[in-house]
């Protein structure tokens, strides 16, 4: 009896000492990672209607967001993956077909060749992709001091913290603290990597005049355009969450049934 007890104690101490070493190592590495993380500003966490298992886009916000994109962002940023027809699809801004056609017609696209072999310009139609502000990357860089404004189609999914980050970045412009060296064409932004960014502040109060009469504060515009960009990155978000809810309920019921079937089958086998 006594011998067994001793052996157990011995085994336990082996286990314990290794556990101690591991926990010390983990603590040290955790400390290291927090010290690295301290250099990056955690983004703001505003309320988003599309978060949560049953989240939906706010239709009016998507429509305002499109307005902010076209009037402010689209001067420099393309959205190559979107077509004007997407604007009328369910789960999106859901403009009427007439509205979307008018919005598309504000842009010109090159098409052709015609019978004489010449390319020509025509107003964009629903099936056209969003018209890019640039002919090519070189032109975009030349116009932006060497920096390339990224395409915004999936930008929310392409950045850690997605919508929170984009929202924070748009509102993160501050006066640089004294002694900060900023090159020409580089701006100070609390949420940008290294607190420096080549994009100037673009959102100013009343920078757009919302057609629905909403007051265009900086926060409102940032919120709307980020909502729009979240939709453009994930146009099937609403459908996905709705379907997911049904699928999970269905599976839960099925699991419930199989649990009791299983129990009944095994009743006499032990």
């Amino acid at each position: 009896m006594k011998r067994r007890g001793q052996r157990k104690l011995h085994q336990l101490s082996v286990f314990r000492s290794i556990k101690y070493i591991l926990s010390i190592l983990l603590a040290v590495s955790a400390y290291q990672s927090t010290s690295i993380a301290a250099e990056i500003h955690e983004p703001m966490r505003p309320y988003w209607s599309f978060e949560g298992p049953l989240g939906k886009f706010e239709r009016a916000s998507l429509q305002r967001g499109y307005q902010v994109y076209t009037e402010v962002c689209s001067g420099c940023h393309s959205m190559d993956l979107l077509s004007y027809r997407n604007l009328i699809q369910p789960g999106g801004p859901e403009f009427s077909e007439k509205q979307a056609k008018a919005m598309a017609a504000m842009f010109e696209v090159e098409t052709g060749p015609d019978q004489d072999g010449e390319m020509f310009m025509r107003p964009a139609i629903l099936s056209d992709k969003f018209v890019s502000p640039w002919e090519n990357e070189q032109q975009a860089r030349a116009a932006n001091g060497g920096a390339y404004p990224p395409d915004l189609s999936v930008i929310v999914k392409a950045r850690p913290n997605g919508a929170d980050y984009i929202y924070s970045l748009l509102l993160g412009y501050k006066d640089a603290p004294e002694g900060t060296d900023l090159d020409d064409g580089v701006y100070y932004n609390e949420y940008a990597k290294g607190m420096r960014i080549a994009m100037p502040q673009v959102l100013y109060e009343d920078g757009v005049e919302y057609t629905d009469g909403t007051a265009a504060t900086e926060e409102q515009m940032a919120h709307d355009v980020t909502t729009f960009l979240t939709w453009s990155a994930e146009p099937k978000l609403e459908e996905r969450k709705r379907m997911g809810f049904k699928v999970i309920i269905y599976l839960l019921i099925l699991a419930f049934l199989f649990y009791f079937t299983n129990k009944a089958i095994w009743k006499d086998s032990h």
């Binding site: 052996r7 157990k8 085994q11 082996v14 286990f15 290794i18 591991l22 190592l25 983990l26 040290v28 590495s29 290291q32 990672s33 298992p53 190559d80 993956l81 997407n86 990224p150 189609s153 999936v154 999914k157 392409a158 950045r159 850690p160 997605g162 990155a233 146009p235 099937k236 996905r240 969450k241 379907m243 997911g244 809810f245 699928v247 999970i248 599976l251 839960l252 099925l254 699991a255 199989f258 649990y259 079937t261 299983n262 089958i265 095994w266 086998s269 032990h270």
Partner: protein, 415 residues
């Protein structure tokens, strides 16, 4: 395989005489005598089959819309997400399915390690399993390259560059793999081809895996042989069919949780940026399921050495049946092994954590210690344990411990 299937109709008799396929399935999926004490850790074999079939079916449809070309791959994936009917669903199932596949295979392997399922007479089942795991790694890696995002491109660059560590022929082999002088369209096309092929090879190995399993029959939590023709076994159907389906549904709930509510949680945000050969991401990290092996690769200061160690970390598994010298299978009866088992698992998770950290400072040192421990477990601890460990007495049959528990419960109830 014993079967009591008797074809009844004339057509069934005609077929069965020429191709006894119904008899075969009846024997292997219905009558198959299975130990009655298998716990839920044994349901992952079925779950893995489900994962493989799901990946093949969703992959097949995705391949109908995907374009394996460096210029078009990224936008063709977005075309699937936006314009193909339920394309977003197929792609999210396929992408998260890979992660679920690896969660299941790691649990399946951990179960094998705990209950000694790799030991005599089941060595070949285990070795075939190691080959399946290898093919899974290759398939998943090549699949991750296909969307042609930043992580796809740079992950492919890092891993294919490993071949350049081979002495003398390294560079020519790498160029041959690439089909050029850098990662580009030729590599993408061949990865797509292989990514399509390998799952079918996995499927073939799975058939061998199950075939080999059905010769000695399942191991079980007690790790002892079943007494043939006794109360120890139950027919596979309905007992384990229904139990496996129940476990599968629970697994699918978790799966659906990822697919429908956080479909990009397990991916990397950089992979939504189109591949750019001129811009290296800050940290190149592989998918989460490769992280432990990635940590081993980086722990070694020498490139060739790192590659050798990483490959060895997987290859050593194939020798496990002989490295573990203990005749007792189940950790239930191996008090010392049981502790080292959990330490090994903790160390493996630690390696996974380290694989996600930048290769600098303290992380490198811990990675090295954890890498050494990984191998020490296999080449020192397991062989030695078999000789020094005093194992607990084994029950005479599967029914014995069950009865004992019942008796104990009865006594406790009457007291």
């Amino acid at each position: 395989m014993s079967t009591d299937y008797e074809p009844k109709s004339a057509v069934a008799k005609w077929i069965d005489k020429r191709l006894p396929i119904v008899t075969l399935f009846n024997g292997h999926l219905m009558q198959y005598p299975t130990p009655k004490n298998l716990n839920y850790w044994w349901t992952f074999g079925g779950i893995l089959t489900f994962c493989l079939v799901t990946q093949i079916i969703t992959g097949l449809v995705l391949a109908m819309h995907y374009i394996a070309d460096a210029e078009l791959a990224f936008s063709s994936v977005e075309h699937i997400m936006r314009d193909v009917n339920y394309g977003w669903l197929l792609r999210y199932i396929h992408a998260n399915g890979a992660s679920m596949f690896f969660i299941a295979v790691y649990i399946h392997m951990a179960r094998s390690l705990f209950y000694g399922s790799y030991k005599e007479p089941r060595e070949l089942i285990w070795i075939i399993g190691v080959f399946i795991f290898l093919l899974m790694i290759a398939t998943a890696f090549m699949g991750y390259v296909l969307p042609w995002g930043q992580m796809s491109f740079w992950g492919a660059t890092v891993i294919t560059n490993l071949f350049s560590a081979i002495p003398v022929f390294g560079e020519s082999i790498t160029n041959w793999l690439w089909g050029g002088y850098s990662v580009g369209s030729p590599l993408l096309t061949r990865f797509f081809t292989l990514h399509y092929l390998l799952p079918f090879l996995i499927f073939g190995l799975v058939i061998l895996h199950v075939w080999a399993l059905h010769v000695p029959g399942n191991n079980n939590p007690e790790g002892i042989d079943v007494v043939q023709g006794s109360q120890d076994t139950v027919p596979f159907h309905p007992h384990y069919v229904v139990k496996d389906v129940f476990a599968l549904i629970v697994f699918m709930i978790v799966f659906a949780g990822f697919v429908f509510f956080t479909p990009n949680l397990l991916g990397h945000t950089d992979n939504y940026i189109q591949a750019n050969p001129l811009q290296t991401p800050e940290h190149i990290v592989p998918e989460w399921y490769f992280l432990p092996f990635y940590a081993i690769l980086r722990a070694i200061p020498d490139k060739l050495g790192g590659v050798i160690m990483m490959v060895s970390a997987i290859a050593i598994l194939a020798f496990l049946p002989w490295l573990d010298t203990s005749k007792v299978r189940s950790a239930k009866y191996r008090p010392l092994f049981k502790q080292f088992y959990w330490i090994f698992l903790a160390n493996f998770l630690l390696l996974g954590y380290l694989g996600a950290q930048p290769a600098e400072g303290i992380y490198v040192i811990i990675s090295r210690i954890a890498t050494i421990y990984y191998f020490v477990h296999f080449v020192v601890i397991l062989p030695v344990l078999g000789f020094v460990e005093k194992t607990k007495p084994l029950p005479k049959s599967i029914s014995e411990p069950v009865l004992n528990e019942k008796e104990r419960a009865a006594k406790a109830a009457s007291a």
